[in-house]
Each structure stands twice: as C-alpha cells, then as structure tokens.
Amino acid sequence: MTKTIQLNGKTYDVPTEVQSVQQLLIHLQLAERILVVERNKKIIAKEAYDKPIQDRDQIEIIHFVGGG
C-alpha cells in the first residue's frame, strides 16, 4: 500500500522503495545536509532516522544553506 504523508505542509505519496526517514532523505537528496527533522511534531535524532515511516505521518525537514 502506498503511504501518504504530510511533508513540509504538502501531501506527499511516499515511493514504495522508501521505508525509513533515512531513505526518504536520500530520495530527496538531503542525506548529506545538516538537517533538523520533525516527525509528528517531535524532533527525531539522527540515530532514529532508520525508523519506518507510517501512513499519515507529518514530517517536516529543514536543511541549512549558506547563502544570503
């Protein structure tokens, strides 16, 4: 079954090969960045990025950039 989550304020159908937060970050090409990741209003630690994504999760990802 396809999982549908809220990602940064928008509805997002998670590709079937993406199971964990880490895999989502890789899919979004954000894995190498400095990030803050929140899942269902709780910030998750890097060590917990391998936890599976659940249907209807609310995920927010903010990565740092340098420019200005």
């Binding site: 400095i34 803050v36 910030i43 990802i61 903010i62 740092f64 950039v65 340098g66 420019g67 200005g68």
Partner: protein, 338 residues
C-alpha cells in the same frame, strides 16, 4: 512628516507606542548583499533609529538581479556594497542614522563592531561568519536574527530571544564545511525577499515587545514547501557557545579560519580548523560546472575559478593563487563553499 508612519502605527500590534520603540532601535546588519539590501530597505522605511550595514565586497553585475539597493552605475563605479547601501538607505529615509562600513568581520573585530546595538540581522553569505557572530552576539547578549537562502529556498531562526533556546552552534552540531551557495546553485530574488521579510517581521516583533518564538522556519517559493520546527529541545546543556559555561569557541583563532599570505607567491592560504577536513569527492560534485580544469585525487582538488587557480587539501586548507588579498580569497571560499 508626522504622518509618515501612520499606516504602520495603524497596525494594532505596533501602534504609536510600538513606533516609538522602532524609532529607538539600533540595528546592525551583517552583510550588504541580497538579504542585507532587502532587510535594510524594510527597516529603514519602518523608521528605526540607527542602521549600520557592513560588507567586505564590491558590487558586481551578477548581484543586480537580486540586490535591490544597487544600480548599474554602482557596478560601473566599482563601489563597495557598504558605501552604496549607505547612500541609498540614507536617501530612502533621512530620519534614520545610517552608517556603512567596508570591513571583513573576524573574531578579532566582531565584539567592538556589534557592541551597543539592540539587534543583529544576519545577511552574510557563509556559515563561518554566522558562527563567529553567533558567539559574539551571545557573549554581548544581543539577539541575532539568522537568515539564509539559496536557489528558491530560505530559512530563518531568531537566536537569543529566549533564555532556554538553542543557538546556531547547538543546531549545527558540527560546522558544515560546505553548503550550497548562490554561486554554485544560483538564487532567485523572490526567496531573498521572502527570507528577509520574515527576518524583519521577527525583528519588528522583538523591538516592539510582541510575542516571538524561536522557531526554525523554512520556505521554498518555487515548490511551495514550507516548514516550521520548534527547536527548543535541541538546546545543548553543555554548548560551548550558549551554556552557562560558554567559552565562545568561534571568537578564538583555534576554531575559526586562519589566513596567511604566502610570501612571494601571490597566493593566500585559508586553513579551517583541524576538526573539519574536506570531503573532496563531495566538494568536486558541487563545484562541477562552476569551476574549470578540475582535477582531484585522495589528497587534493585543484581547479580554476575566474582568474584564480585553487587547490583544496583534504586536511582543510585551500590555496588561492593569483592574489595577495585575504578578503578576495575569503570571498572565493564563501562563493564556492558557503
């Protein structure tokens, strides 16, 4: 002139009392590039008391699509950004005492520069300087309104507005030696204005005594993505920059970039702290298309950028050939590595 700010005063959360507080505010703007242009104009139009804007750079053609204070003539005249910004801001609002300083902010001069200001607005183009100013602002107890943008994406974070909030050092954990920059992936003006607008809204809330929370907020004006994260739980009890036992590491040379002009070689060496080796393979990927004649091996990456030959060593050093000017070398590092 008495009605100049009437529409701003009509806005209930500000009112006449808020306008008086805005009038008394002394603002330090760190950088006169895109964010500094946009935020500077908003703050000066809002009628703050004093604005000091600092920058180490001159205006170039590649700046004009997004750096709203500057004109073609400024490029022709090769004006420093801080000089042209000061002229334009002073012309916009003669009520405001505007100063411009052409200077590179370093651990040595930062405390003297920011002392006495009520607010620091971040408009720099690199994390190195942000972490130096993060430390300095925490040491002097001045709120620091961080903002950064690249591509169509930007983020903001107000630091030092609540006692138990994290600082930039808490959030970054380790220093990102390399971030995306406007010179590697480009930038469009709508995200500049969006990011600066959020920073200025936070500054206005702060100086008028309105509620403000230390949220990390991002927006992408192209995709429509946006996020807001309450990062209070990320405060580090032993943070060297903001805990009770803070040592402000980025104000000491050991943790900040070292620079040296290599004698007789027309070369500047930039050295980052030893804890920050270059990931050369990742750097190579991000610089592809921006630099030319790139070669890299496990030890170094060499390339050409403009008139300069650059050599990056794995141990966190970069040689910039073709200049004796440290500011030029640091500018190249900021453009390419963030």
């Amino acid at each position: 002139m008495s009605t100049r700010y009437s529409r701003q005063e009509l806005f209930t959360p500000i009112g006449a009392e808020g306008q008086k507080k805005i009038r008394q505010a002394k603002i330090f703007i760190l950088g006169a590039g895109a964010l500094g242009s946009s935020a500077g104009e908003m703050l000066v139009r809002a009628g703050v008391g004093q604005v000091t804007i600092v920058d180490r750079d001159i205006i170039e053609w590649t700046n004009l699509h997004r750096q709203q204070l500057y004109t073609e003539q400024d490029v022709v005249d090769q004006l420093p950004k801080a000089v042209a910004a000061k002229q334009r801001l002073a012309a916009i609002n003669s009520d405001v005492e505007v100063k411009g300083q052409v200077v590179d902010v370093t651990p040595d001069n930062v405390l003297n520069m920011i002392e006495g200001y009520d607010v620091i607005l971040d408009a720099t183009d690199n994390m190195e300087t942000r972490l130096i100013v993060n430390d300095a602002a925490l040491k002097l107890n001045i709120p620091f309104f961080m903002g950064a943008c690249v591509g169509s994406y930007g983020l903001t974070f107000p630091i030092g507005i609540e006692k138990n909030q994290p600082c930039l050092h808490c959030l970054l954990e380790m220093m990102p030696l390399q971030t995306m920059t406007c010179d590697t992936v480009g930038v469009i003006s709508p995200i500049v204005v969006t990011t600066a607008a959020r920073q200025v809204a936070d500054v206005l809330k702060y100086i008028t005594g309105n509620p403000l929370t230390p949220a990390l907020v991002s927006a992408d004006v192209w995709s429509g993505d946006r996020a807001s994260i309450d990062v209070r739980s990320l405060k580090k009890e032993l943070c060297p920059s903001c805990s009770a036992s803070a040592v402000y590491p980025f104000l000491t040379a050991k943790h900040s970039m070292q620079t040296a002009v290599l004698c007789g070689r027309d070369t500047v060496q930039l050295s980052w702290p030893k804890s920050r080796p270059f990931e050369l393979a990742a750097v190579a990927v991000s610089l592809r298309g921006t630099v030319s004649k790139m070669v890299y091996n496990p030890h170094l990456l060499a390339c050409e950028y403009g008139n300069h030959r650059l050599v990056l060593f794995r141990d966190g050093r970069m040689l910039v050939h073709g200049t004796k000017d440290i500011v030029v070398a640091k500018k190249i590092a900021a453009e390419l590595l963030g």
